[in-house]
């Protein structure tokens, strides 16, 4: 049996599945249910400073996009931080932590960018027995208009400053949550590290409008006919999040900085992928809000069974394993040649590979062979682009098969070169020629 116990910057939890700071973690009732369902930890929904709590809209807070069969693919929200009294939250956190000492309980915090504000709240949180804090520098809506959330996360200097205050005023581990609404995720990560953060977590949600009502011309979600950008999350954002996690994991300046991976984690596979790209654990929200807390059971068993099958014993065995394989385009092996191959027994003859290739790409898949509907790769034309694989409705029907070194590539008429060669030394690269002179 694989050991799923997680130790993230000293915070221990029985598994690496935490619920992210969000509606599911707004109060004891939900968190208790989550722990009963098996979640390893929760990041309590973001606390604000003492005083009258924020208010939320009284209409739709969420918008979504769907795939086939109305599977929720992307989700957004315009909800703010907790709208409950600070002391109610603190009291409940303390009680929950006492009830569940083996689970991780992290407090998400967002207060104005003033030293005193942070200095004031940190001891109150510490007193609950929380295992750590997460700095919410990510919320892209509402709070950012008040100089908090992503308004801080978009200015590396502010990140560094606030992290420094937190490290100064609390003994608790500090996790800095980053906003993806920037051009280069490495900059805020470096700033957090410079401020002394124990870890970063990412991504927070992405600025988004999920749709437009074509009867009223209101953006969605719509409040009385008007809409505002909300924070986008769910399965659709996973590729963006994976890349940002990888960018930080492989950046020499932040290499080794612990990462809590967030963004569209829906299954155990997603979690394993985040961890392979350098995350020490993952945080989940949309999947729980879509299916309920029980999904964690699929995540736990799936991850454990996969680790057993592959011989991975602990999470350390998988964390960061894919990071060395993430590189820049210029270092990709240009002598690697793959061709699409269609398994005729699996083919259902929908013709989508053909029309995709014929209309939009390389005219490398037949429609008829000897007058019979038959889809087959024309190796002379196939550049190995993978489009057919991606549009085929049957999994593993079309596969990309690498050509062994020395085999004839019928497209170029040349044998496959056994040696690695990339763009930096390619004859067509003007920089390379210059370097060669």
């Amino acid at each position: 049996m694989a050991d799923l116990r997680n130790n993230f910057v000293g915070i221990k939890s029985p598994n690496p599945f935490w619920l992210a700071s969000a509606p599911p973690t707004d109060k004891a009732y939900n968190v208790e249910r989550a722990f009963r369902a098996g979640w390893g930890g929760v990041v309590w929904k973001t606390l604000g400073e003492e005083g009258p709590p924020v208010v939320n809209v009284n209409g739709p807070r969420y918008g979504a996009i769907w795939g086939a069969d109305r599977r929720l693919l992307g989700f957004n929200n315009i909800e703010l931080i907790t709208d409950r009294d600070l002391y109610v939250n603190l009291r409940e956190m303390k009680q929950v932590k006492m009830n569940w000492p083996d689970r991780a309980l992290i407090a998400s915090i967002m207060v104005p960018c003033e030293e005193n504000a942070w200095k004031a709240i940190l001891p109150l949180v510490e007193e609950t027995g929380a295992d750590g804090i997460e700095l919410n520098f990510g919320c892209p809506h509402g709070m950012s208009e008040r100089g908090m959330g992503s308004a801080v996360g978009q200015v590396p200097e502010y990140i560094e400053m606030v992290v420094r205050w937190c490290k100064q005023y609390t003994r608790m581990p500090v996790i800095t949550k980053l906003t993806p609404n920037i051009t280069d995720i490495r900059k805020p990560a470096r700033a957090a590290k410079a401020g002394g953060t124990d870890a970063v977590s990412l991504i927070n949600t992405i600025n988004s409008i999920t749709g437009v009502n074509l009867d009223t011309f209101s953006p969605e979600p719509s409040i009385d006919g008007r809409g505002s950008h909300g924070g986008y999350c769910g399965p659709a954002v996973k590729p963006i999040a994976l890349n940002m996690v990888a960018e930080i994991a492989r950046d020499p300046e932040t290499y080794g900085l612990p990462i809590s991976g967030i963004g569209g984690v829906t299954t155990w596979r997603d979690a394993a992928e985040f961890m392979a790209l350098g995350a020490g654990n993952v945080q989940v929200c949309t999947a729980a809000m879509t299916y309920g807390f029980k999904i964690v059971q699929e995540m736990i068993t799936g991850l454990s069974d996969w680790m057993d099958a592959k011989g991975h014993r602990t999470l350390d065995d998988i964390s960061g394993r894919a990071v060395p394989n993430v590189t820049d385009w210029q270092y990709l092996n240009l002598n690697y040649v793959a061709k699409a191959k269609i398994d005729q027994d699996a083919c259902i003859k929908c013709g989508r590979c053909h029309i995709a290739c014929e209309d939009t790409s390389h005219q490398a898949i037949t429609q008829f062979v000897n007058g019979v509907r038959h889809f087959e790769v024309i190796e002379e034309e196939c550049v190995g682009c993978n489009l057919c694989v991606n549009v085929c409705p049957v999994e593993n029907c079309i596969t990309m098969e690498p050509l062994a070194a020395g085999t004839l590539d019928r497209r170029t008429g040349k044998p496959v070169d056994p040696d690695y060669a990339n763009w930096t030394t390619h004859a067509n690269n003007p920089m390379a020629r210059q370097a060669a002179e």
């Binding site: 989508r352 053909h354 509907r373």
Partner: protein, 453 residues
């Protein structure tokens, strides 16, 4: 309370039971069901379903239009190819046409529900009375259409759209042909055939003259003299005879008459049916008669077919439907003699048959099935009259790919032509294509004097 009394009686069931029995065979899809069903379509390239459809409806496109919330656009995609798309959605043997070709069969042995989706879209458009077609400027040409069935209606509609004036002659009281008289009641509930006829005719320029039969009230020559073109879309009025002893006994009936009477009955309680019914034949007519006999309260209904299951014209789906309603289907039995008592049917004696060197022969053994009613569903014939010198072969009209007959100015399509497929949807395709051919013929002919002036 109903009755299981012997003899041929109406009112075998309580009234409510008739209503329940003759309700829609497949309930229409609601919006959610339609979206789920539409999601399953892969939007295939050069889609096999479309190739399998005799009217070549762009099925992937109309399903995608449903999936994207545009059922009206979807209906237009359907009607562009098949103006009787509503009825075809109900009566097409989709399991041997579009749905058989669906690639989902290969993927998971369950096709996209194309027929039901087609009904979903066309129902919405018809309910909202969306008219997609307007007539081109009047051409001044007049076309006579004989037969207001699927072929005739499709032909007339396309001609009207092209600006020609059409007069349809039909021998019966109502338009629709087999859609009105020859389809099981549970496949076209709520007077759908007549609603569809109204929808088709609302394009304008089509006059229907009922109670007018070719060969009785006029000849082909009369029509050719009066009109610029003639389209023959006649049905099969004749029924094959058994030619065995006892055939004329009371209780031996034509299945097509039984089916027609059921369609014209409001309550069905007035349609008499035997306690023990035997249906002879292996096609859709046999199934429709047998299933409906059962639904009317017959205690025992047996279909006897002289060949094997694999030779039956009725589709697998139809056979299963019959079985699910309690009809037994027996194969390799050929009628030998009808037993008569007091002038009425008492049973039927059948020869057991077998195939010998591909030829059907009797084995010498016989069996007897007690029955008080026997339906003949062993094929229909084209009763040609008034056609003059029109070229016929095997009792049907000979046409080319466009529906042209041997006579100039005369086109034909549907069940009356040689090579017809005995399907509503094929009749629609032939009528539609003949209209196109007629229109092209007009275009190359001398323009009308009035049009020049």
């Amino acid at each position: 309370m109903g009755t299981t009394q012997s003899g041929i009686l109406g009112g075998r069931l309580p009234l409510a039971e008739y209503e329940a029995n003759f309700t829609d065979l497949h309930a229409p899809l609601d919006r959610h069901e339609a979206l789920v069903a539409a999601d399953r379509c892969y939007f295939c390239h050069d889609a096999p379903c479309m190739t399998a459809c005799p009217t070549s409806i762009d099925i992937p496109l109309f399903i995608r239009q449903i999936a994207t919330g545009n059922p009206i656009g979807s209906a237009k995609t359907i009607f562009d190819q098949n103006i009787l798309g509503g009825m075809c959605a109900r009566v097409c043997p989709t399991e041997t046409l579009c749905e058989e070709a669906c690639v989902r069969n290969t993927a998971e042995e369950r096709p996209v529900e194309i027929g039901r989706l087609q009904r979903y879209a066309t129902d919405i458009a018809m309910r909202e009375n969306k008219q997609f077609y307007s007539r081109a400027a009047r051409s001044g040409r007049r076309v006579a259409v004989v037969g207001a069935g699927p072929a005739g209606l499709a032909c007339a509609h396309r001609l009207a759209v092209k600006g020609h004036d059409v007069v349809i002659y039909d021998a019966r009281e109502k338009s629709g042909g087999l859609n009105e008289y020859g389809i099981a009641a549970y496949k076209a509930v709520d007077d759908f055939a007549q609603r569809e006829v109204d929808y088709v005719l609302s394009v304008g320029g089509i006059e229907v003259s009922h109670g007018k039969a070719l060969g009785r009230d006029f000849s082909l020559g009369d029509l050719a003299g009066e009109f610029d073109a003639v389209f023959l879309g006649l049905g099969l009025a004749g029924v094959n005879a058994l030619r065995i002893e006892g055939e004329n006994a009371e209780g031996v009936e034509d299945a097509v008459d039984f089916i027609a009477a059921l369609r014209q009955s409001k309550t069905k309680a007035d349609i008499p049916v035997g306690r023990r019914v035997v249906v002879l034949g292996g096609g859709m007519t046999a199934i429709d008669a047998a299933v409906q006999a059962k639904l009317l309260g017959a205690e025992e209904v047996t279909i006897c077919y002289r060949r094997g299951k694999e030779h039956m014209n009725a589709s697998e789906f139809e056979q299963d439907l019959a079985a699910s309603k309690g009809v037994s289907i027996r194969h390799w039995l050929q009628p030998k003699r009808i037993a008569v008592k007091d002038g009425r049917v008492a049973g039927i004696e059948l020869d057991y048959t077998t195939l010998e060197n591909g030829k059907l022969t009797t084995t010498g053994e016989t069996g007897i099935i007690a029955a008080d009613q026997i339906f003949k569903a062993i094929g229909q014939t084209f009763e040609a009259s008034g056609l003059g010198a029109l070229r016929m072969e095997s009792g049907r009209i000979v046409v080319d790919a466009e529906g042209r007959t041997s006579l100039e100015k005369v086109w034909a399509g549907g069940d009356c032509v040689l090579g017809g497929e005995d399907l509503t949807v094929s009749a629609v395709a032939m009528g539609r294509d003949a209209a196109g051919s007629i229109d092209r013929a007009f275009a190359v002919a001398q323009p009308l004097a009035s049009a020049v002036a």
